[in-house]
């Protein structure tokens, strides 16, 4: 394959996505055959652009929060003082993963009400595990002689963490964030069952009115976002890995 082909495909997908969420009417003829009984072809109870931005916002907030908590936890349990909390924090984070997101939503709604909040809680809990696991892997597989040199040079614990450990594990932590974002992008659609404004709304509206065009446009936008973000974060990851001198691995 030619080297420029992937970039061209990415660019085409970005252009297509932007065109679709800003001017969905252009695509009406394409989706028309999927509807029956003169049902509306393009989602008409809100702008696709607004829903896409809200969808991204909810994922962003949940991922940032999950990253902060997961990385902080991973740092804590890899310090000498926190080693005994390692099993505990592992199981706490695993619980977040064993709950199905729907169950988390159902449990969160009575506590915090309908809307964005229960969705944020579900996404946050879901995002924790991959980031935590990766941060843990990154922080525990640092080259031993580099850590020895850092101690030997007279760095304090804090200096070793910020100047050596975190920079060197950054590519692996980024890998965890990438997984977490993609899971959240997909899971956020379920949030619309509890009235969170996400692209799930379009899919659910399609399911309720048996409108294949709605289902498809909601699903495709989420899929395109997931592919693009995954791709983008992968290249950030590769770049960081190169910068941290870990490319040889």
């Amino acid at each position: 394959m030619k080297a420029w082909l992937p970039s061209l495909l990415r660019l085409a997908l970005v252009v297509l996505l932007i065109a679709f969420v800003t001017n969905p009417d252009w695509f009406e003829p394409l989706l028309k055959p999927l509807t029956e009984n003169n049902a509306p072809v393009i989602y008409n109870q809100g702008s696709l652009l607004t829903l896409t931005l809200l969808h991204l916002r909810i994922v962003l907030i949940a991922t940032v929060a999950a990253t902060i908590v997961a990385v902080a936890l991973a740092i804590l349990v890899t310090r000498p003082a926190g080693v005994e909390f390692l099993p505990l924090s592992r199981s706490l984070v695993n619980i977040g993963q064993t709950f199905p997101p729907v169950a988390v939503l159902a449990l969160a709604v009575p506590a915090v009400g309908f809307g964005e909040k229960p969705t944020l809680i579900a996404l946050f809990l879901y995002g924790l595990l991959p980031i935590f696991e990766n941060a843990l892997t990154g922080l525990t597989t640092l080259p031993a002689n580099v850590m020895e040199a850092a101690r030997g040079a007279g760095m304090t614990g804090w200096q070793r963490l910020t100047k050596v450990e975190l920079p060197l594990s950054a590519p692996i932590i980024l890998g965890g964030i990438r997984l977490s974002v993609v899971i959240s992008l997909a899971t956020a659609t379920i949030g619309s069952t509890v009235a969170a404004k996400t692209l799930g709304e379009v899919i659910i509206a399609g399911l309720l009115s048996n409108n294949l065009a709605f289902i498809l446009q909601g699903g495709l936008i989420v899929a395109a976002l997931a592919v693009l973000i995954y791709d983008g974060l992968s290249s950030v990851e590769r770049y960081t890995a190169r910068r941290m001198g870990r490319e040889a691995e």
Partner: protein
């Protein structure tokens, strides 16, 4: 001066270092030799407190090494390890500047020091400063590792098998460089190795460790001539002994009156090299020249063979 007094390190029931006492004179190189598991690395790491001793005291120029917080102590002591341990995410210049930055030196002083060390180690600061460690060869990485250890002008440099990962040719060069730099800065060096050859070549004094105990601590010639135990004798290697003894002496000191044919050998060369040259070329004598190229006399096979014999 480094005074090690009754140092012991125990992990649970195992005693890794057992009541070791020794004094390392300033501006000298002390080499700690031993097999793996002899406690030599642990002993070294107790000097800069990467390991805290179970019992005993280590004094640096009279001051207990526990009078400072560990990290401050370590900033004042150079530390170079096998496989160099360079920070892969920092450039060569940033790596060398590690300790000066921690000490808060100003930028100009750091840059001057980094440039000085890189030049000393034959690494062009302009070309190599901005590179990352993985872009360097093994020998260059090792030099950067030692330069980093020396950056903050420490009086004491601890080295844990610093040449272990190098091929023999680069290794010899690295040893010569270290000796030259030690003379230049007057640094007190404590070097851990399992290689007797390296110990005899580098050390002003050699400490032999076995199973946590200091078996013998003496000048190389003394260790070769009078090994304190069967273990030391094995470590020295009975078949290598005469040649190691010769490697300690300079040709200059073995010069006899007279002249000889052929290419002259410099007076600075080791007597071992002179003997090797004599044996290889099948000649009974070699002319010797001084640093200025003037003839000093000659060395003979007979003369060198006498010097290789066990001292009385």
């Amino acid at each position: 001066m480094i005074e090690i007094e009754g140092i012991t390190k125990r992990y649970d029931a195992t005693t890794v270092v057992d009541d070791v006492s020794m004094i390392i004179e300033p501006r000298t190189i002390a080499v700690i030799v031993g097999t793996s598991g002899s406690g030599k690395t642990t002993l070294l790491r107790m000097i800069n407190r990467l390991v805290e001793p179970t019992a005993g005291v280590i004094k640096l120029d009279g001051a207990d090494n526990r009078s400072l917080p560990g990290y401050e102590l370590r900033r004042s002591i150079g530390y170079a390890i096998q496989g160099h341990g360079l920070f892969p995410h920092r450039t060569v210049a940033q790596n060398i500047a590690t300790v000066p930055v921690l000490l808060g030196w100003d930028k100009a002083r750091i840059k001057a020091r980094v440039d000085e060390l890189m030049t000393l180690y034959q690494l062009d600061p302009e070309a190599f400063g901005p590179r990352y460690p993985h872009e360097l060869s093994g020998g260059q990485q090792q030099r950067v590792g030692v330069a980093r250890a020396l950056a903050a002008e420490p009086n004491v440099l601890l080295m844990d098998e610093p040449f272990g990962a190098l091929d023999p040719i680069i290794r010899t060069k690295a040893q010569e460089d270290l000796l030259a730099i030690q003379k230049r800065f007057g640094t007190t060096i404590i070097l851990v190795t399992h290689d007797m050859e390296e110990a005899v070549h580098m050390g002003d004094k050699i400490a032999v460790m076995d199973a946590g105990k200091l078996v013998q601590y003496a000048k190389p010639a003394e260790i070769l001539a009078n090994p304190a135990s069967a273990f030391v004798e094995t470590l020295v290697g009975a078949s290598e002994r005469p040649f190691r003894l010769l490697s300690l002496g300079r040709v200059r000191d073995a010069v006899e009156k007279g002249s000889a044919e052929g290419e002259a050998i410099p007076g600075d060369a080791s007597q071992r090299d002179a003997l090797a040259e004599l044996l290889w070329s099948g000649r009974p004598a070699l002319p010797v020249k001084g640093a200025d190229g003037k003839p000093l006399g000659r060395v003979t096979v007979d003369g060198l063979v006498k010097r290789a014999a066990r001292p009385a």
